[in-house]
Every structure is written in C-alpha cells, then in structure tokens.
C-alpha cells in the first residue's frame, strides 16, 4: 500500500501537475486562438533555461529565480505571436498550426545556440526524500509541484470567474464572434492568454527541470501527453485541462502498477501509449472532453 502511494500515486500526481500546467495553456490557446500550439513545449524549455540563467548569475534557488524564467517565456511568446501568428489569424488554422511547428524549431535551435545542447541541472546531487513514520517517502519537489498546482487551480478559478479579463476570456472561448460583436477587445484577450499560458508553461518547465534535468528537448518531449491532457479536459476549459493533466499523469504511472497479478498491469514500455490510447478513445466517444469543452 505504502509502495503504491510512494512510487506510483505521488509521482503520478507530480507528473500530472507538470502536464496540467502545460495543458492549461494549450487548452486556452486552442479555445481562444483556435489552433494547436505545437511550440508550447518549447515555451516550457525557454522558461527552464531563463530560470537556469538566473540561478547561475544570481545564485538563487530555482523556485525563487522562477519569475525571471516566466518573464522570459512570456516575452518570447508575445513576440512570436506578434511576428508569426498574428498575420495568419484570419486564415484557416492549419497555417498557424504549421507556423507554430516552425516556431518550435526556431525556439529549439536558439536554445541550442545560446545555451548549448548538453544537459544542465538546477541542483547537483540526490535530493533526500521526506520520510514520515518510516513509511511515506516523498520527494520534496513533488510536494512542491502538487502545492503549486493546487495554488494555480485556485488562482485560475478566481481569475476566470471573478475578474473582467477572465470573464472576457471565457466569452471569447465560448463564442468569438459574439464576443467581438459585444465589443470585447479580442487582442487584449489574446495577450492575456499568452501571458497566462506562457507563465504556466515556464513553471512547468522549471518543475520538469528540477525533477530531472534541463536540455533543449525538455518540453518537446512532453508536448504529446500535454495535448492529450488538453483534449481530455475539453478544449477551451482551463480547469478541464488541469484535470486532464492530472489524469494523464496518473494513468501513465498507475498503468504499470501490479494491479491484478505480480506483474505490472501494462508493460512500462507502453506507459506513454496509455496516455494516447485514452486520448483516442475519448476523442471517439466523448470528443467534447471530460468537462464539456468546445467542439470546432
């Protein structure tokens, strides 16, 4: 039982938090700008490297240096939106999807040019886990990740339901035409989307980097499960994406728990496949996602 909690449940929740933070941005961008943002993983990577630079130059703890990474990631996506995505806004979304593919390539090459391609770590050495009653062994980072996601969930809920910008975002996501007619400043909403999406991605990137290491493909390797999470939650539903991320993370980790026999239920090599399989099944039977998202 403790083994289940220590090595399957909590790591699953932590992994889920990382997916969730990325998926929220993907879902919001999908809902408001109506395209699948393939460069989102690389925004995470940018956030991680931005933070890393602050850690190196200022000698801060990664979580304290995080704001630097956030600002860096947000400025990058805002610039990219202005230069590369905005001119394509009125065209069929396929153009923007492809453009975002190109942006992913640009981000990654720039990262490799500036920081090089070798792995980096925030903190050297093994992080001793928190041990409670000799039973619970949890990495501090995982507790931090779970705490962050809870905080983000509360803040996001407050933002979306109580603030003017949040409500406008929901309106645009539900019906862009109507929102425009109603006189909402869509460009402002778009900007807010990038700022939130970029910030959360940066946090996700730093958490992923803390959990393992930082390298140029950090975010790119996570993009598909994050998409799965966004779809799972229902496109355009940030809270849904959050839930979707947690579900995907948990399913991935729990699928290899020896549920029935002594053997893992699913061979760990197919761990990632379970996330995709869930996504495909959901797309077929409930394409609007867990929390009724938009269907385009």
């Amino acid at each position: 039982m403790m083994e289940f909690i220590n090595f399957y449940l909590i790591p699953g929740l932590a992994l889920g938090s990382i997916y969730a933070l990325g998926a929220i941005g993907i879902s919001m961008i999908f809902g408001i700008l109506r395209f699948a943002h393939f460069a989102h993983g690389d925004v995470m990577t940018l956030g991680a490297y931005g933070t890393l630079t602050a850690v190196w130059t200022l000698g801060l703890h990664p979580l304290l240096a995080l704001p630097v990474g956030i600002v860096f990631a947000v400025l990058s996506v805002l610039a990219v939106d202005k230069v590369f995505y905005k001119p394509l806004r009125e065209l069929p979304t396929i153009y923007t999807v492809i453009a975002s593919f190109g942006v992913a390539l640009i981000f990654r090459s720039l990262i490799q040019l500036v920081w090089g391609s070798q792995n980096e770590v925030f903190i050297r050495g093994v992080q001793k886990p928190v041990v409670l009653f000799d039973l619970l062994r949890v990495s501090l980072l995982h507790l931090e990740a779970i705490a962050i996601i809870v905080g983000v969930a509360i803040a996001l809920h407050y933002f979306l339901s109580r603030t003017q910008t949040g409500r406008s975002m929901r309106a645009v996501s539900d019906n862009a035409e109507l929102a425009r007619v109603a006189g909402l400043d869509t460009e402002k909403v778009v900007r807010a989307t990038w700022i939130i999406g970029g910030s959360l991605a940066a946090i996700a990137g730093v958490l992923a980097g803390l959990d393992t290491n930082i390298q140029p493909n950090l975010g790119w390797n996570l993009i598909l499960p994050m998409f799965a999470a966004a779809i799972l939650g229902g496109i355009g539903k940030p809270m849904g994406a959050l839930l979707g991320g947690m579900v995907i993370g948990l399913v991935e980790e729990l699928s290899s728990y020896p549920w029935l026999t002594d053997e893992p239920l699913i061979n760990p090599s197919y761990k990632t496949a379970t996330a995709f399989l869930m996504m495909v099944i959901l797309l077929i039977f409930r394409p609007q996602g867990l929390l009724k998202g938009r269907l385009f």
Partner: protein, 322 residues
C-alpha cells in the same frame, strides 16, 4: 566541385525528393482533395516500410519473416497494409473535426511507433532490419546502382501522379472536393460523406505506405527512428502548403523545393568558419524555421494553387477563372 560527384549527389537528392513527392501527393489526396487533417503521416509511412522490409529482406532469426519476395510484391503489400491501417484508423475517427482528427492521428502514429520499438519478435525492435534489397540488385555496381533506383522511384512517382490526377479529374474527385468545401451541402445532394472520407483516407494511407517501402529499400536498413513521427509529418505538411494544396503538380514541386531547402542549407552552413562547427546545424534548423515563416506569410496559397480540372465536354470554354 567534382561534376561526377555532383551528379551522384543529385541522384541521391532526387531519390529522397521522389519519396517525399509521393508522401506529398498522398497528403494532397487527404488534405488537398478531402480536407482531412492527417497528422500521423509517419505512422502509415512506418507500416509500409516495415511491411515491405519484412517481406523482401533475407531471413533472420531476430525478426519475423525475411521472405525474400520481389521488391514489387513488397511495395504492393506495403500499400495494402498501410491502406488497411488507414481503414481501421478512419473507421474509428473519421467523423472527428479537423484538429481533433489531427490529434487522434498523431496519437495513433505514436502508438504504432511504440509497437514497432517494443515488439522485437516482429520488427527486431530498435536494432532494426538489415539486408533489405533494392529492385534490380546486381545489375549495376556501386553508386551507379543508385541511378537505377532513382529511375524506379520516379516511375512510381509518375504512376502515383497519374493515379492522383485521374482521381482528381473525375466525378469522384469533384465530389470529394465538394465534401471538403461543405459537408452538409454534400449530404444534401446525396453524397455519403463518411464513405468518401474513408476512401480518401485509405487511398492516402496506402500511398504513404508505398513511400515508406521505397525509403526502406533505399536505405537498405530500417529501424524505428526512420519513422520519427514529428519530423516526417511536419516536413510533408510544409511541402504541401508551400507547393499548393489541391494541386498535384504543386505537391511535387513543393516536395522538390522544400527538400532542396532542407538538404542544401547544410552545404551552405558547412561553409561557416570552423568555430561554428557545432553550431552550424542549429543555425541550419533556425534558417529552416524562419524560411517556413516567410513562406507562410508571403506565399501562403502555395507555388501552384488549386484549380478546377475543367470539364472535358465543356466546349465553349470561356476564360477559366479557377
């Protein structure tokens, strides 16, 4: 530069471009005619490549088969299995709207890749399959043999082009474009939309399988990374968008020009000073990314945009505006 070397470089270049041209024509059937956002091209490519490799390679204890069948049999079988895979995928998710179909097809391609990497008994997993023959093996020696393979590839490109053109210039193609332009209206005039989409998906998938098979025969070696989903899928999309979706000639021209950019930038970046040695590859990727943005913003309808095939009996042709 050595002219003979340049000739053989061109041969290799055109073989790859031909393989991409087939992928691009196949995507054109799915997206250009049918409006289906297939983002799992690499999956069908992989199925085709493995089918043909397993059927034609020399027997080996490490993977299934090695039946030493003729290459042509392998290629036809590749089309069949990739088509069947396409059929199964389409059966499940053809009703999904564009972006969702894209996600589902990426997911399925990724699952296929995992099966290929993990099921050693079938594919020899990550160690891959060696000793895959080429057609007319032994007729010519050394790199001269590449010329034969080049001819073989482009004969197939020509056949695929012909097939695609005939599909396009037919009531079938017309109906498909109608389905793409307006699904509800197509239903209202009696078209079985799902059936047409299914057919399109299967035909496109089968052609992608052919391209996969050709690549396996070209490399004579096949391992899972040959089917890296995001790279192949992404490149083919760029080619089709740049060439002009809905236009078969555009698809081929797009494949040639984007492949030229992709491949030739390395020759340029290699000319950078030595201290850039590690960096030149990233600079190249950066250039490609920027070039792509340039194409999307300035040449977005492609080099050759879609045009109607015209009606054969329409004698009093006034100027065609399409």
């Amino acid at each position: 530069m050595d002219p003979v070397g340049l000739l053989f470089f061109l041969v290799g270049f055109l073989i790859m471009a031909g393989i991409y041209a087939i992928l691009c024509l196949a995507l054109n059937v799915q997206w250009g005619y049918g409006g289906l956002f297939n983002a799992g091209i690499a999956g069908f490519f992989a199925v085709g490549a493995y089918t043909s490799a397993l059927l034609t390679a020399a027997p080996a204890p490490t993977h299934l088969g090695g039946f030493e069948l003729p290459v042509l049999v392998g290629i036809i079988a590749a089309a069949v299995t990739a088509g069947l895979t396409g059929w199964a995928v389409a059966k499940i998710c053809i009703r999904l709207k564009s972006d969702y179909l894209a996600m589902a097809s990426i997911g399925i391609a990724e699952i296929l890749r995992m099966v290929i990497v993990n099921e050693d008994w079938l594919t020899n997993g990550s160690l891959g399959i060696t000793n895959i023959p080429r057609p007319f093996d032994g007729l010519l020696q050394g790199r001269e043999a590449d010329i034969l393979f080049l001819a073989f590839v482009w004969v197939i490109v020509a056949i695929v082009y012909l097939v695609c053109n005939r599909l396009y210039d037919s009531p079938w193609g017309r109906t498909l474009r109608a389905v793409r332009d307006n699904e509800d209206a197509a239903r209202a005039v009696g078209k079985d939309v799902d059936s047409f989409r299914l057919q399109t998906f299967v035909i496109g998938a089968a052609l992608m399988g052919v391209a996969g098979a050709l690549s396996a025969h070209y490399f004579r070696f096949l391992s899972p990374e040959a089917t890296e989903p995001l790279l192949i899928t992404f490149l083919v999309w760029v080619m089709l968008m740049a060439g002009g979706s809905g236009n078969n000639k555009g698809a081929i021209i797009g494949a040639l020009s984007v492949w030229a950019i992709w491949s030739l930038t390395e020759i340029v970046t290699n000319r950078l000073p030595a201290e850039f040695a590690t960096r030149s590859s990233y600079i190249r990727m950066l250039l490609i990314g920027l070039l792509l943005q340039f194409v999307l913003q300035k040449y977005r309808s492609g080099l050759l945009p879609e045009r109607s095939p015209g009606i054969a009996f329409d004698k009093d042709k006034d100027k065609t505006h399409g």
